[in-house]
Subunit: 325 residues, 4 copies
């Protein structure tokens, strides 16, 4: 299922080498100023080009096709797309027989009986997440009092990011990374006590992003080792401000007015130029696979703007539900 | 929103000190043998009674009210409940003015303008998760070829669980824990590439459970420090078996036929008898709070059967969608 | 699927001869005064007892099980039930082999492979609509400025209702009826232009009610014979008041502030004591069927309060979405 | 909300004078042969050009953007669009002040605070229903054993359609019509007993189509005047064949294997060249309005293929749910 949300509803479509990737957003309020230039900053943050990211360079210009008139959202569905311009006529048929370890080549073929478009990963491509970035820009406009800050904490366990990337490139390998998102200014009382807790909604969206392997809120996995007297956040004023923020701004699934904080683990990209010993399903024998081409050595570098978008989309939906619990 | 699922749909209701907690399950196939005794084993696993869990002892017998006739599911909605028998007439009004640090007392009151039922945590009570256990039992019947194994890996960072619990009780404190779930026998091809990835669905349900602070699949947070050549799982046979299972049985959001593996971090319970310095919203001043009563010192001890249920519910939904991607 | 709604979400359960019929309502705002007596008036309107309705008499007392505390809704899911007290140990096995013409006996068995509970119609029973009446009472409380008026226009084509019922009873037959619902005080701007038009939502719920065969809004089927110059409703003041109301208060799927008006066609009940020549699936031959027992001669008599409830539920959902298009 | 469906999910977007109208279809199985030419026949049936329909002539070529590779559906979301080529730079600002009687000009402005795109009706345009036609073509491919036949029964109450249209054009007026849809070959057991009855699903989609005022199944409104002994359909063989088909192929919300039959009432188009006395909201006074331009005199002429599409979409969703109740 390629849609998400209750009021602010998004439906994603597209594949890496098809005509475009895009998104339809339903339930966006009318009267929000929106123009194509508004997307440039966040699209640039996701684009490749820096060391460690793929050499597939595309302008990634967002085209707004529907739902905006005279510079403002109309209240009708917004469809926006990014055309795929720099597609590569390379032959992906090798991966039908020798599916890349760690990649969706194998599961995609099994699920879709080989009808899936494997070029560039098809609908499994990280490029599909562009739709999230688009929706995130609009979501942030709805949440204009709320600030999102995401940063890369480390790659490959190292805080010296550029050095680690350099090493990885020399080894023709790839590397994972740890990314943090902090959200300031969210009102008290968003989220629901059970299935639609803030954590449920954000994690649902975050795990839609290819390559995410874990998520934790506040103290996260550290809290498993803690005592209640250490982990509990004492209140210190009438506004609900707390002395510490071990819970990451959420109690019982509901925002408590403090900073929302979560971290995600991003796995290393599966396509590497280093040789891998794996199975050839056609020859029914082990083989050595070297994945040539334009790949990211560290996809985590491009993740901050996407998880920020995921969080904004989740919160925009809650903001429009506000007062209706 | 208190419902979840697309085909196998569950709607949860109830509060700690109301008449009952329960669940309605829609979309369960007809013809599944089901009787009230079938719930005993998993309900017992969730019950308190062992050292470190609350002394609120209840039989927690499941009553099937609808959707079962002559020992088999009818295809109509199944409603099953557990009555609240051992409620405590204790006064919860203190927590209106001195909300427990780390608890939903504060956010619940803000969200529901003090109309929420605060007795025993009301709808925020861990007791509401009984509905998940009920649905989990039925989900496992749908998934009869699939085996679920969940275990407590550690509490308070210690693998010597009973000793750590003993210490914690003596300190009048509480402690967190780490729980793992392994799922064997799941076919290849369940899950969707984007919003309804296996990870999205499981994490959505898992974060509905009170006290969960993090989730990771396969190598999880460790993968953020790894290289692709280390993390990738090489294929070794025609069935898609892999040499390692760092991805936790999921590629591109879709099951690959290997064991599904995830871990969750459970925070320490917020209600502790140890004194806490926190805010009194009525007196507008700091105060010392001692939470008396029957509390769990380590809720993680009761979590394994619940996360197993969450995973089973998510997978039952995918199993009924099978072939429809 | 046994649930409906986006914000004000209802999940229905139960069968005629099971423990109870009931409903869970999620998304009801907190702070609404609600007690069990509030349901009496509408439940009495649906009850049988008058000439032409079944002799199955039950008190039909609503029990509120969850979501209400101290006389007010808490914001948590509301579960309310009506116990089945006057069930009849009669043997329904005849209808397995000789399914009643016009009834769901045949389709129910086919769909559920004979696992369905056929006693009293099981989940197909009109009694399941009690859940709608319960939700309707709560919906009307949310819509306190809006008035609902439903009336029986005719039964069996006759406006002399009691005479027609008398004739029908003497013939051991049953009869259909025409019911109208008028809704006053609905604000301008509710409803959506496409899939969630007011008409879509109301008709979706209305056709959930057993025995409904048609619905029309405003001039309805008559409009198919009309000219635009006759059918169009001219505006006559700044508030959008119109000279006529041929559109039934809805333009482009959205309320225009005038009275909402719709009519439904209710078919005659299928269970009749008059002999019917039909098929015996066991004997593989035609047979004569006389349906004994307690049946409604005219279910339309009990429909007004149910379609009113259906309309109120649909509008309550729109009211909670208000301002979010 | 602009989406519909549980497995076969459609999200519609676009407006009359924007870049395009289109649809995203999620949940379509992989491996279905699909090319752009497949849409020509049904698009032509919806196109204008014959007497009584608008002179806005456009090729209405469907472009498939995503979800199809090498001639087959991939299992990923399908996005298909129709560009708006013959847009008219006419000034629609008159209708801001003098909203057309019977049109959504008034409600659209109220709902969207005048941010809606009024050109050509914007998102309220009948042109948005092109998306349904597109989805209908794909749905029919899923339902390859099922045949759909829709016909115009009458326009303006007359079965002599061309004569009635001629008269209407001379009077500069418009006229309504009655359209019937018959569906053959649908298996037994599709549909659900309550909220997702076949009638609920079809009517929900049908009332999304602009200009529909009523729907009836089988004998429909006539059944309100009938006796049970007349309306009941006696079974006559082991397959569930019935002697008559007054129920329109549906019992208890579930298909019974007989022909599904429904009729819809289509109102006369609201835009007419004949003068109408209505309100000028700017001048705060009554005025005479003559709607110039290219309008349909009878939109019912273009409805058959659309209601057929609506029915096919509803049934495709049920077909993919088959066996899961």
């Amino acid at each position: 299922m390629n849609s998400f949300g209750r009021i602010f509803r998004i439906s994603i479509f597209g594949e890496s080498h098809g005509h475009c990737v895009g998104i339809t957003i339903d339930g966006c309020p009318c009267g929000i100023p929106l123009k194509e230039e508004d997307f440039i900053k966040d699209m640039d943050r996701r684009r490749s080009g820096i060391q460690g990211t793929t050499k597939r360079l595309e302008p990634d210009s967002v085209e707004i096709w529907n739902g905006v008139y005279d510079g403002y959202t109309t209240g009708s569905p917004i469809t926006a797309i990014v055309c795929n311009t720099n597609t590569n006529p390379k032959d992906y048929s090798l991966f039908k027989h020798v599916p890349r370890p760690g990649h969706a080549d194998f599961t995609g073929q099994k699920k879709y009986h080989s009808f899936n478009d494997m070029r560039g990963g098809g609908h499994f491509s990280g490029r599909v997440a562009l739709g999230l970035v688009i929706a995130g820009v609009i979501a942030k406009k709805i949440l204009k009092e709320i600030h999102f800050i995401s940063t890369i904490l480390s790659v490959g366990g190292s805080q010296n990011i550029s050095q680690k990337i350099e090493e990885t490139l020399q080894e023709k390998d790839s590397v994972g990374g740890l990314v943090e998102c902090r959200i300031q200014g969210c009102p008290i009382g968003w989220g629901e006590p059970f299935f639609d807790s803030i954590e449920s909604s954000i994690s649902h969206l975050v795990f839609a992003i290819p390559a995410i392997r874990g998520i934790e809120f506040g103290e996260g996995f550290l809290s498993a080792s803690r005592k209640g007297s250490e982990h509990n956040d004492a209140f210190i004023d009438q506004n609900g401000k707390t002395l510490t923020n071990h819970c990451g701004g959420i109690n019982g699934g509901i925002t408590n007015g403090n900073e929302i904080l979560f971290r995600v683990a991003v796995k290393p990209p599966s396509s590497i130029a280093k040789s891998q010993h794996t199975f050839d399903f056609q020859k029914n024998a082990m083989t050595d696979l070297v994945v040539e081409g334009r790949h990211d050595a560290c996809i985590a570098l491009r993740i901050p703007v996407i998880i920020e978008a995921a969080a904004a989309i989740a919160l925009a939906d809650f903001s429009l539900l506000r007062g209706h619990s």
